[in-house]
């Protein structure tokens, strides 16, 4: 009897195990650290916290009177460190290194990272293969959001809740005055290549306008379409061809007076977005024109002094992406199931994602939902007020599939920012950095100071 029972148990065990393995799917073994009493999340601002509270937490609303939110009954704790001067990364790095030995309440269970430095967290054993925690349906995600989160061994380490295609936004009134056309469909053919873009710049100059407000406005369009990585496998620094093209363009644009010598974030650029501004266009994703073009918005409900409704969005010379936030799971976290639930909510839960797009003006990381919302808006005649009611979601849907990120390295942030900083010295006729060659030497010197092991071209 007992022998029979033992045999029965053995068979039962095998069957159960078989189900477990099949259940994991994708051939990856489930690997979950669970049982933490607190769901601890690291971030640099509260943007994602709002979405989490509203769409994922048990409470399902973003209400400041709620002190502690819960997920599956487990309290959620946020550690927010601003990203000024690398403070966020410093705090996060320290926490991640000690995550294995930290007491359970302090363990980081999930953290957020930006496109510019995500690779540092992807290429480390301190973060987990998210397919092993059950995040494995990327069928509706944009490929670049997966590519950038994939490590050297082809393991996916992060999931994004947004997609950040970027394009060119321009002033309709200036387009009408200079080009005689103002609608996106008419203007796009005039700027769909860099040569045409330059020709329009010359026309703008002739009428007393600037093409762009910053010499670096187009930088990301070039750099995020790179043909090679900033640093090769042997740590040799190389300048991607599009970045070289940008340098030529920026030099010409400044010399000809097509643009101003202001940085992308400088007040001298954004002030031109206000009423009476002399700048024709700028570049950026939805988050840029919705949240970073203050002077265009003007003041009050009537947008006084602004240029609200005078803008329009087109793809411009080249599709590209800029920014974005990813969620990652540390190897030594203690609430992997909750991480999985959170990631999947923003990747595959269509109901949640639709609200994210409609109520929070995000462009989500789900192709199907984005397309549905774009179609809904088209049918309802709904659109973005800043863009004179243009249905920008539809523009993004058409563009987002073309985004590619093939070459990223952990050095990208320093390379992109460093090159621009050095090059603008040359553009501004610095006493010492007064040639392009000297600007590059200046860039290489600072890059080598940051990363002593990189080999720079002599």
């Amino acid at each position: 009897m007992s022998k029979l029972f033992k045999r029965f148990m053995a068979v039962a065990l095998v069957v159960v195990l078989a189900f477990v393995f099949v259940g994991c799917g994708n051939g990856k073994k489930a690997d979950l650290n669970d049982g933490g009493s607190v769901f601890h999340i690291y971030a640099w601002n509260t943007e994602f916290q709002g979405f989490f509270n509203k769409y994922v937490s048990d409470e399902k609303k973003n209400d400041p009177s709620i002190e502690t939110y819960h997920l599956d009954g487990i309290p959620v704790k946020w550690t927010i460190t601003t990203s000024d001067n690398g403070a966020y990364q410093n705090a996060l790095d320290m926490a991640l290194r000690e995550n294995g030995t930290a007491n359970e309440e302090n363990k980081v269970d999930m953290f957020l990272a930006e496109a510019d430095y995500i690779l540092k967290y992807v290429n480390t054993s301190l973060t987990k293969d998210i397919e092993t925690i059950g995040v494995d349906d990327f069928s509706q995600a944009y490929q670049y959001t997966v590519d950038i989160a994939t490590d050297r061994a082809n393991v996916i380490k992060a999931a994004s809740f947004q997609c950040c295609p970027a394009g060119m936004v321009y002033r309709r009134s200036i387009a009408q005055e200079v080009l005689g056309k103002s609608e996106p469909a008419e203007v796009q053919p005039l700027v769909d290549s860099w040569a045409k873009f330059e020709a329009v710049a010359a026309q703008m100059k002739a009428k007393g306008y600037y093409m762009t407000g910053s010499y670096a406005d187009t930088y990301r369009v070039f750099s995020n379409n790179a043909d090679k990585a900033w640093v090769d496998e042997n740590k040799n620094v190389q300048i991607p061809t599009p970045v070289n093209t940008w340098m030529t363009q920026a030099e010409k644009f400044v010399k000809e007076g097509y643009t101003k010598t202001e940085g992308v974030w400088d007040g001298g650029k954004t002030i031109e977005f206000a009423e009476g501004g002399k700048v024709f266009c700028t570049f950026g994703p939805a988050w840029y024109y919705n949240f970073c073009m203050g002077p265009a918005m003007g003041t009050g409900d009537n947008h006084e002094g602004g240029t609200y409704g005078d803008w329009a969005l087109v793809a411009g010379p080249q599709a590209y992406f800029w920014g974005g936030t990813w969620l990652l799971c540390p190897s030594a976290g203690s609430n992997d199931s909750l991480v999985s639930k959170t990631m999947n909510a923003f990747l595959t839960d269509e109901e949640v994602i639709e609200k994210l797009v409609k109520d929070d003006s995000q462009f989500s990381n789900n192709k199907k939902v984005n397309a549905k919302v774009a179609a809904d808006y088209e049918a309802e005649g709904k659109g973005n007020g800043l863009l004179k009611g243009q249905n920008d979601t539809k523009v993004w849907v058409d563009m987002a599939d073309n985004i590619q990120v093939k070459y990223s390295t952990i050095y990208d942030q320093q390379c992109n920012e460093g090159l621009q900083t050095a090059f603008v010295k040359f553009l501004k006729n610095d006493e010492e950095i007064n040639t392009k060659a000297k600007a590059l030497a200046d860039f290489f010197a600072d890059l080598q100071k940051a990363f002593p092991n990189l080999v720079v071209p002599k």
């Binding site: 290429n123 400044v254 501004k428 030497a441 600072d446």
Partner: protein
């Protein structure tokens, strides 16, 4: 018997030690240990792990120090360049600061003028020092930035080109930083020098007066020579403070990465931002040695004053 002995000479020494201990504990934790760790770190190679999450470093002897003295792509030894920048900016600010401080100190201590409201003036002169340096620098940045009022004023009068930028210009940026340091510290210098002048025995001035010495004679032959020890102290402490110049310069020109205003502590900061504690440590050690030499000089000069008496 024993009890009596204790009663006769109760030992208060332990309370003294306990009160002093708080300083030593704070010094140990927040100054001494970090100092030792800085020196320790300066002998380790962090090059492989900067920008990564790895945590493995190895002993590398004087490699970090050697690297600091190698010529970079700009064709300069950056450490020396930064040291030079620091000294130049310090000189531009400190010389007017000393002269102005001395002038004010002489005016306020003058028995001829007998100025009223000294307390008020002293407070006002010291005020700029109370503003946070970073806030002050932000203000100057706003005033002299490319959309600041000074830029507009200068462009409209045709003194500078539209593309000119005070913050990235070598001369202007240095002068602005020196000016801020001057404004923040001249009050301090004035107060110290006033104390120095007031510390000179009145009888010396009186006998000079009786002997018919002119004001300039009194100044050059009595006040200044007797003020020498305190002047040396003011000068050297200002020099040590100057070597550690950071906040004002960083806030004003850090973003523009102006090579002519990068001070030596800004160089340390550049290394620290990337977690390169090896190089940051090496620069810190060099700065420590320079500061130590200057400090010894201060001690010597103060002690000499004691000997003369």
């Amino acid at each position: 018997m024993k009890k009596d002995k204790n009663k006769k000479s109760p030992s208060y020494a332990k309370w003294g030690y306990i009160f002093v201990a708080s300083f030593f504990i704070v010094y140990l934790i927040f100054t001494f240990i970090p100092q030792v760790l800085t020196i320790y770190d300066s002998f380790f190679d962090y090059s492989d792990i900067v920008g990564t999450l790895e945590n493995i470093v190895y002993f590398c002897g004087f490699k970090n120090y050697k690297m600091l003295f190698s010529v970079n792509m700009r064709g300069e030894i950056e450490l020396l360049r930064c040291l030079g920048n620091t000294i130049v900016i310090w000189v531009i600010g400190a010389i007017p600061q000393m002269l102005f401080g001395l002038l004010l100190a002489l005016i306020f201590t003058s028995t001829k003028l007998r100025l009223k409201g000294q307390g008020f003036f002293k407070t006002v002169f010291y005020m700029p020092n109370l503003i946070m340096a970073a806030a002050f620098a932000s203000l100057i940045l706003a005033l002299f930035g490319t959309i600041g009022p000074f830029h507009t004023l200068f462009v409209e009068n045709g003194w500078i080109a539209q593309t000119f930028d005070f913050i990235s210009d070598k001369t202007w940026a240095r002068i602005l930083i020196a000016f801020m340091n001057f404004l923040m510290w001249f009050g301090n210098t004035t107060i110290l020098l006033m104390a120095g002048i007031q510390g000179i025995d009145d009888s010396v001035f009186e006998s000079a007066k009786i002997d018919g010495a002119s004001s300039s004679h009194v100044l050059w032959d009595i006040t200044l020579p007797l003020l020498k020890p305190i002047s040396v102290y003011v000068l050297v402490t200002s020099m040590i403070g100057g070597l550690q110049m950071f906040d004002v310069a960083q806030v004003l020109t850090g973003k523009a990465k102006n090579n002519s205003t990068r001070t030596i502590v800004m160089l340390i900061n550049d290394y620290l931002v990337n977690g390169n504690y090896g190089h940051a440590g090496a620069v810190s050690v060099i700065l420590f040695i320079i500061t130590a030499v200057l400090s010894i000089f201060v001690f010597k000069s103060i002690n000499r004053k004691g000997d003369e008496k």
